[in-house]
Symmetry: C2
Subunit: 326 residues, 2 copies
């Protein structure tokens, strides 16, 4: 987002929310007319900017949008989200990200994010439709992981840990992880993850980590069929969440756990995942490519596979599949 | 290849190489003028068709090309190569195949092949350039495998076995497999494989199996830097190979081993791979993402990872990497 309006916004932020036009023109080396244009552009993006006296600008309300500037000012990461592509609406942030990764060297895109206010073609796992209305956080992170291919799906574990920790830390809500890739509050889903992998032979080309969080979404406005199974951060809190600040926390947590992964600290990830697991100890019905069976989810192994003890006492290892708590 | 000229060719083949024009028009229900067009088209594709007397066509020489019709008449597979897209030249059959798999349901494309007489942008592993001149066999097979993701790279093992077996069976040359994905005759490479994987979470979307075989290629015409390391089937045999018939053998062998994989008969694949291995027992230098080390290749495990015993006696498991015999 190379929108020069954000340079003006930065000067306002540095001035504690207000700045004389002179200061802005001098600080940015731009003419007065460009400042006026920038202020108009910021207002169009949802910022309220007052002029309490001639040639003084005062920021009175921030944009409600998930703008890169608003996320990045909280960010402090090394590579995650240093570059962001922001879209008002798109069919799928993952499709946009895939297109970028196909055209450019994935290593150059490591950490780049695609963010949309709304997805019109958003998908959950196994091609299921998944509502992505305005107010949520819909983003895809492009990664070029230096991780052995049999560990690469631990990226999803790192991201699940990051979301659950951010919800607990910033919002004080008891989020837990449902295997393999959902975040729940109580018995309702609040966020989901999707990892798309491209590899040649056993060498990872790139991964696309899709992240969908029901942040400020009114449950009453969701499809009736979804309401019983889904919640949102705002519904749980009774107030809206500061989405840019919250996403920045998620991204910081993710980067930290991702670095553990690249350092080969798999057991640290597995241990933390276990401590945040909703699934372990539950009776589950597992559906894989080959079959459906029930049992008790007893553990995950060092690759993130779920271990399910069946009636017979035999323990089955599930690397991919659908998991229903029963 | 829905070229109607091949219907005429089929009638000629059914007639033992010749057929009166009347028979062709009656058999196909087309006017005489369409038969003339088809014969012209076949001649343009490299078939020699004589007219020893008026209204009698006689096939005197087949096309030298790797045309779908010529492969499929030998084929007899269930799904591999039932549909083929033929190109005179392309940058990469894998790029074409990827484009198909992105636009259509991969399950509908299972077994579909892209074949080119020449690739101008062909790649080996790790993005290395790899010459793909006319005379070779350059193809990519689209698969929608029902195989757990931690077994999916065994598709490459099945394909390597298939190529080595076809070379041994049809041509009586002592082909062996160099880990992870090359076929050698003696100490020279004759074929290479590349498996591209697309997956969501741990569910395989599709794989693209790229197969390059130096079939009828004059080594003298290769880049001098390649000559010492590379051979071709024609160079080893001292005569040209019937490429369509040979490729059909490869595809039949591949389908048979692929079905073993989908049936979960992993140990059968590993056992056959071992029996065809050039690498096992050799001293090797391994380069992975993380490091380079040397040792003796002692075995592969049930996932296709190479087990290398180092000087210290410790055995290292290598799932992806470059392997040089030393």
């Amino acid at each position: 987002m190379d929108d020069p309006a954000f340079d003006v916004l930065r000067v306002l932020d540095e001035g504690g929310g207000s700045a004389p036009a002179d200061t802005i023109t001098a600080s940015l080396g731009i003419p007065r007319s460009r400042v006026t244009e920038a202020v108009d552009r910021l207002r169009a993006l949802g910022y309220a900017i007052a002029e309490p006296r001639k040639d003084l600008y005062q920021l009175t309300k921030r944009s409600g949008r998930l703008l890169p500037y608003e996320i990045q000012k909280h960010l402090g990461t090394k590579f995650i989200g240093r570059r962001m592509k922001y879209l008002e609406t798109t069919e799928s942030t993952t499709w946009i990200a895939r297109d970028l990764a196909c055209r450019q060297d994935p290593a150059q895109l490591h950490g780049t994010m695609v963010i949309a206010e709304e997805q019109t073609g958003g998908q959950g796992r196994l091609g299921r439709a998944w509502a992505s209305p305005p107010g949520g956080i819909w983003t895809t992170i492009i990664l070029a992981p230096k991780i052995p291919i049999d560990r690469v799906f631990m990226v999803t574990m790192a991201a699940a840990i990051a979301v659950a920790r951010a919800v607990r830390k910033d919002l004080d809500l008891g989020a837990l992880i449902k295997w393999p890739n959902d975040i729940f509050i109580g018995d309702k889903k609040v966020a989901g993850l999707l990892l798309e992998l491209s590899a040649e032979n056993a060498v990872v080309n790139y991964t696309l980590l899709g992240l969908g969080i029901d942040a400020n979404i009114s449950i009453a406005r969701l499809d009736p069929g979804l309401r019983a199974a889904v919640t949102s951060l705002s519904a749980e809190l009774g107030r809206e969440v500061d989405r840019p600040a919250f996403l920045a926390t998620v991204l910081r947590e993710f980067e930290r756990h991702y670095e553990l992964l690249e350092a080969g600290e798999y057991e640290a990830i597995v241990r933390e995942w276990r401590s945040l697991s909703l699934t372990l100890g539950h009776r589950v019905r597992i559906t894989t490519l080959a079959k459906t069976f029930e049992g008790e989810a007893v553990d995950i192994d060092e690759f993130g596979a779920l271990l399910v003890r069946k009636e017979t006492g035999a323990v089955e290892r599930v690397i991919a599949g659908d998991c229903r708590h029963i």
